[in-house]
Symmetry: C2
Subunit: 265 residues, 2 copies
Amino acid sequence: MAQGNGRSATSRALDLLGAFDVRHPTLTLTELAARCAMPLATAHRLVAALEAWGALERNADNRYQIGTRLWEIGLLSPVPRRLREIALPFMQDLYEKSKENIHFAVRDGHDTLYVAKLTGHRAVPIISREGNRLPMHSTGVGKALLAFSSTEFIDTYCARPLVRCTRHTIVEPGRLRRELAATRDRGYALTSEEMTLGSCSVAVPVFDARDEVAASLGLVVHSVRENLAKYVPDLKAEAAKIAKVMVEHHCDPYPGFVHDLPRGG
Amino acid sequence: MAQGNGRSATSRALDLLGAFDVRHPTLTLTELAARCAMPLATAHRLVAALEAWGALERNADNRYQIGTRLWEIGLLSPVPRRLREIALPFMQDLYEKSKENIHFAVRDGHDTLYVAKLTGHRAVPIISREGNRLPMHSTGVGKALLAFSSTEFIDTYCARPLVRCTRHTIVEPGRLRRELAATRDRGYALTSEEMTLGSCSVAVPVFDARDEVAASLGLVVHSVRENLAKYVPDLKAEAAKIAKVMVEHHCDPYPGFVHDLPRGG
DNA sequence: GCAAGGACTTCCGTTTAACGGAAGTGAGTC
DNA sequence: GACTCACTTCCGTTAAACGGAAGTCCTTGC
């Protein structure tokens, strides 16, 4: 028939890829069809095409997963690639000094998008992953991005429901605004078990040529550790170096990257 | 009409994604259509669908590039993700000792596929990138993978034309075989300006539970540096630790990952 | 300023390949 | 041996993909 309910074959195939996320890294055919609200036969046919090309793979227990070929293609995406190329060496320097988890993140929509992460054996195991999204109000890098964003953006963000991650997450808009003001005043963001119990973080903004926040650089430690402020000078120094290289390479507000939301500063 | 020349809409859309590679990270619509041998109007329609979903983005000069969303989805691919999770902390330890470029690679088809890379400011700039492919006979990690593969695989590999990367690349099958035998004897692979002039490397294999080579771990330095053998004990120690964790996590021959080629050992 | 060239975009009649309900297969359970 | 559940295949219908051609909008050259 080709009476596909308004959606093109291509967009349906892409929806199947979009059905995968951190919580669902593998899916059965039935789950895929259900998540995309399409008939099993349709999902079956499209999935076969995706598998033939290498976008999906089938593992030992017949579950589908994102294919290695898609990983390879995804790494060609210029935005994360350039940002990573620039940030990673400086993050490496930071890691050597601190031996803690180092994060580099940008804002995408209303989320913190983790672009790069360094970790070692001495660092606390944490949930962040490269390519992952976490809320802006419960993470160090997120708060650093949010606090230095435009007032309009902060207004929009605070007007939306604030997800509670732990009992320490700030979910009251007023308290969040005060927290963001304090962050701006001191020049760096702090969190204390707001994303995960047992973890604290400190982060600084990375500014572009127009002095708008383009990214943020942060570090996560186990909560019982000593004061986080001691990391701020190093974080600021590396953030400044990253900003300098980003400006030199014209990586500023990277057009088309931060979608459908007002930026401005 | 829907008289698409034998290919489904889905596979054509995927072919458009496949048109991008390291040499062509951005393409115009016309280039895309040409590379995929499809009419401009068709490419236009499919590209619009890919862009709407976020698989492609359009940059300032109207060129298409792989979208950030595809990068995010690609990172969900279990094989590279698990391997990276396991290998990176050990690579970090290796980096701290050597301050050189650290690579972790697997074989995919007849290529060396770079799964993880660590680099810093003190390391030599090199062409390898995560998600990239390079030949097996001209790279340290590639030779380590090749030397410890099955004899059938080595036969197949040597029978194919050996690409010359520099004037030092071994392109004679007989010489490559002797080089691989020497690699097996000494237990680690060496290269000397065989991939890039000015760079040398040393690498060791990482074995799985069945004692077949599953991956390799290597390090690249500037060619004027002192002897590479001094890095071997550390490389072997970390490779053994990675192998141990891989076996514990059942990451051995990872079904469906290394495609269409005989493995065995 | 205007024509030519090139790259992208839109239009639209034709037709075939995508659609999905239904029936078939096959592994696992009781 | 009947039941369930997940996946696979079949096949008639038809709407959605196809792509040639015409249109738009740049940029370049004279």
